[in-house]
Amino acid sequence: MTSFTPDEIMVTRAANELRNGEVVFVGIGLPNLACNLARRLQAPGLILIYESGAVGAVPSRLPLSIGDPCLVTDSISVCSMVEIFNYYLQGGLIDVGFLGGAQVDRFGNINSTVIGDYQYPKVRLPGSGGACEISIHAKKIIIILKQNKKTFPEKIDFITTPGFIDEKNQRKKYGMPGRGPVLVITDLGVYTFSEESFEMVLTEIHPPNPSIEKINDNISWDLKISDSLKTTKPPTEEELNIIRKELDPERIYLR
């Protein structure tokens, strides 16, 4: 096994989840690396959509921001954000949405708004952007987030973006079109969600030193662990070459 960093296995694990022909709503950072890696390997026909309006983007450099003109050059369409949110997202055309945030709880609800009280915040975070509606409408959501007791707390301070909301899965009550979060990929492992309690379940632990103890030290609730727990497939040499030499050679997002 070639040695790799936690960021790199997060990217390759996320990339492995994508299938040729899927339509993906992409964010800047690790999800962007994952989508562009998948596009170079098993999913050359992956359609990358950025909320700024680029559809079928084929960025030849690492986009500096969500509105980077490199997303436009050679894309299949550029449209206004009215069309992106109404026709593409609310219209039900998005298969996979990637989301991050500052905190996630056991039901996959994400906080990217405030730490502390909303009116008098300890830390003011960026806010939703498009995350709330992406989570409601994309057919499935993959959450990518580094894991520690603070980012995986018992209770989050603000639900910016609904996952399953609670153990009853309130998505059904609201008639949300998307399934919600199906996968959480962290620097330590991979989680899916229970179909009974809608709670996160640990299904994979990352190599090279998989440790349930370490996972538990970095999560604030009593974690459910899958009976068929396995070790995450390590990045291949080919994947690492593409990430390191082509996608992020200056290691802007791979820290």
């Binding site: 800047i28 909320e51 700024s52 309006g53 680029a54 986009p63 500096l64 921001s65 969500i66 509105g67 980077d68 003109p69 997303l71 436009v72 050059t73 550029v78 449209c79 206004s80 954000m81 009215v82 949110f85 109404n86 997202l89 609310q90 609800n109 708004t113 909303y118 915040p121 300890k122 830390v123 003011r124 975070l125 960026p126 806010g127 939703s128 952007g129 498009g130 995350a131 709330c132 509606e133 409601i136 409408h137 603000f158 639900i159 910016t160 973006t161 609904p162 909301i165 309130q170 998505r171 609201y174 008639g175 949300m176 079109p177």
Partner: protein, 298 residues
């Protein structure tokens, strides 16, 4: 019209103002002129406040922001905005917060002269409890409940475009975010363009016109006016500046020094560009990628 004249004539203290551009074509030149003219108590709307609102907040021009994502795109937080929200420095600011879709719908309602827009989002999010402007409506056909947002009709929109003719017919290519809706929603529209072109150029490619001249109140030609953001086909983002801003914005003193030197300390965009220097400006110039021509004949 010059930038100085247009800001003086159209923007009053307390006005609701939108400088749109979704990380692409952000009119920093107009923001800087607003700071120079010491405008106050502005209600500043934008999906992504970006560095320009961070600077206007630090300069004390803004009393409230209406937004959906406040960060330094691709880099980190906006510390000027955070300082105002968390500590009231240099003055407290009020936040009115939506999601991107919520802001898009507000501008769309505003542009359509409808009082509100319904949309399928916000459910399950704490946002709808914090923002009393997010309400609900029952669909008269299906009975399903939808979230609503009120129309946003700013007093003034400032839209940066690649080219315009003297009538104000404005063309954009590349990412166009929500600029068209922001312009149609606003009472007054200031177009700031990289280039003034003959009307025949505009009329040779009418599909590219985002805003027609008869909706425009002022035209300002300000080459490099969106620096340090991007202008497709003209220049790339000055990413080093966005990265440097991370450190500058952490400290109110450093931000004030920046504003003193680069905003108050120059008379306008021309002097700003001279200060940046030819090497910097030339280094950001865009490469060439021409579209295949189309035939508008019939």
């Amino acid at each position: 019209m010059t930038m100085q004249q247009s800001v003086r004539e159209y923007i009053r203290d307390g006005d609701t103002v939108v400088i749109e551009g979704f990380t692409h074509l952000i009119c920093f030149a107009a923001g800087h002129e607003i700071i120079r003219q010491k405008k106050k108590d502005l209600v500043a709307c934008r999906l992504t406040p970006d560095l320009i609102y961070d600077q206007m907040i630090a300069a004390g021009c803004i009393g409230k922001i209406v937004f959906s994502w406040a960060g330094n795109p691709g880099v980190g937080p906006l510390y000027g905005l955070r300082r105002a929200v968390e500590k009231g420095i240099p003055r407290p600011i009020e936040l009115e917060e939506y999601t991107h879709f919520g802001m898009v719908a507000r501008f769309t309602a505003g542009a359509s002269h409808l009082p509100f827009m319904h949309l399928d989002t916000f459910y399950g999010s704490t946002l709808s409890q914090q923002n009393k402007n997010i309400k609900e409506v029952k669909c008269p056909y299906t009975g399903k409940m939808f979230a609503t947002v009120p129309a946003l009709n700013p007093d003034v929109a400032i839209i940066h475009v690649q080219r315009v003719d003297k009538e104000g017919n404005a063309q954009i290519w590349g990412l166009m975010g929500v600029q068209r809706e922001a312009a149609f929603a606003s009472k007054k529209v200031i177009i700031v363009a990289e280039e003034l072109v003959e009307s025949s150029v505009i009329r040779s490619d009418p599909n590219r016109t985002l805003i027609p001249g008869f909706k425009v109140d002022a035209v300002v030609i300000e080459s490099f006016g969106a620096h340090p953001s991007y202008a497709q086909g003209y220049y790339d983002r000055d990413n080093q500046f966005y990265v440097d801003w991370y450190e500058i914005s952490k400290d109110q003193g450093k931000m004030e020094d920046y504003i003193a030197q680069w905003v108050i300390g120059v008379s306008g965009r021309k002097e700003y560009i001279e200060k940046l220097g030819l090497e910097k400006v030339n280094g950001l110039k865009a490469g060439t990628r021409l579209a295949a021509p189309v035939n508008y004949g019939y």
